[in-house]
């Protein structure tokens, strides 16, 4: 979706002002620690996947998304998913008290949880699907303004680039965000600065971006 999260190439945000690496803390407030851990722990229940989680954060009012701090966006996404998946009600969310005592769950214990974390969740799939593209192919990105979740940023739509690497078949996020686990070939595609920003861009720079096969056609 053309949401506020799709930031590549937007203007007007000003300087970065990074905190020095040596003094930056992992979390700046105790509530951030909690939001981070609760989000991961709720993820371990297996009721949603990573693309549904991303999409939940993206589906906020743009003004809200852009004014929130990072972990506020995590919190907003988490609350949305918990309610949409019927794990808690709006009332419970607003009062902090459980009302439906019948719903009893068994979350993974701490050892199981740490095992899930260490194991990770690989996104590659074994399928017999043949790739359409190979290294050095010239490709053109489709101009598709998806209403749903997509990992095709606006700034590359309609642009031409070169395939520099094939990663095999990976879970396709546009379907995964709807709960459909479908695999598509994934590639790293490299664009010269002038192919993305302006014919007159004289910079020697490039952007390499991971794109799934349905996002592209042969040039």
């Amino acid at each position: 979706m053309n949401g506020p999260h799709d930031l590549g190439g937007q203007y007007g945000f000003g300087r970065i002002n990074p905190e020095p690496e040596i003094s930056e803390l992992v979390f700046h407030h105790d509530w951030e620690r909690k939001v981070f851990a609760i989000t991961l722990a709720c993820g371990f229940l297996g009721k949603w996947n990573i693309d549904e989680a991303r999409h939940a954060r993206e589906r906020q009012h743009p003004v809200k998304y852009l004014s929130n701090t990072y972990y506020q966006n995590w919190l907003a996404g988490l609350e949305k998913l918990l309610v949409e998946k019927n794990l808690i009600t709006e009332k419970e969310l607003n009062t902090g008290h459980p009302y439906n005592e019948q719903m009893v769950y068994t979350p993974p214990d701490v050892h199981e949880a740490m095992n899930i974390l260490t194991k990770g969740s690989p996104a590659n799939l074994q399928t017999k699907k043949l790739p359409k593209f190979k290294k050095y192919d010239r490709v053109k990105v489709i101009n598709n303004h998806s209403k749903g979740h997509t990992r095709l940023p606006r700034y590359v739509r309609g642009c031409s680039g070169t395939v520099i690497r094939s990663y095999g078949v990976h879970i396709f996020p546009d379907d995964n965000a709807k709960g459909i686990k479908n695999g598509e070939h994934l590639y790293s595609v490299c664009f010269k600065a002038k192919e993305l920003w302006s014919e007159n861009n004289k910079e020697l720079n490039s952007v390499c971006i991971d794109l799934w096969e349905p996002y592209m056609a042969k040039e």
Partner: protein, 203 residues
């Protein structure tokens, strides 16, 4: 997203209360386990961080075969060699800086980052200015980190749109030819592995 640091540090206290209420209702309903929360926080606050990545880079600096292997498939090699594995590190690829090419990593759509090697991303990496600007004008962004990349050098930006995670192997500083791997790893900063700075120079 905190692109205004002042705003980030003066949050309303009702946010802390809201999170507390959420935690309490989730525990009461048996959806989460408090011990798990503590373990997760401890893992990313104290155990997993850029020291992991620094070990990998130092090894790449002294061992050409290792370097070639992690540029092809970093995740399986570092799991076997160092035991680094897990969430947000399932498919890591290393990209190498050279005298002609400088690599830098971003996630314009969210905050994808190689957790197993660098820990959780810094605030600026997740912020709107960095995500918006680095793809279009990387040279000025790097300047803001005090990193001047000569105009004749290509800057290549890796936008992490999939589950592939990128680790930058910074250039090895000169004058370190006799250094041990452990000593070399002290020159490898988090920022140099994201690509917004060079590795530290030996003093």
């Amino acid at each position: 997203m905190s692109y205004d640091k002042k705003e980030n540090h003066s949050l309303p206290s009702d946010l802390a209360l809201r999170v507390k209420a959420l935690e309490s209702v989730l525990i009461d309903k048996g959806l989460i386990n408090p011990e798990t929360l503590d373990a997760l926080i401890d893992t990313y606050e104290h155990k997993i961080g850029p020291k992991n990545g620094a070990q990998v880079v130092a090894r790449a600096w002294v061992d050409e075969n290792f370097k070639a292997a992690i540029k092809n498939d970093c995740s399986s090699i570092i799991k076997k060699t160092f035991g680094f594995a897990g969430r947000q590190g399932e498919h890591i690829i290393a990209v190498e800086n050279t005298p002609k090419l400088h690599n830098v990593v971003v996630c314009t759509l969210c905050s994808c980052y190689p957790w197993t090697l660098l820990g959780l991303p810094p605030t600026w990496y997740k912020s709107a200015p960095y995500r918006a600007r680095v793809v279009e004008d990387p040279r000025s962004v790097l300047n803001e980190f005090g990193t001047n990349v000569p105009i004749e050098k290509e800057i290549r930006v890796w936008d992490s749109t999939s589950e592939i995670r990128y680790l930058v192997i910074p250039e090895r500083p000169s004058g370190t030819e006799e250094w041990s791997e452990d000593k070399l790893s002290t020159l490898v900063t988090r920022d140099s592995m994201i690509g917004v700075s060079y590795a530290k120079e030996p003093n």
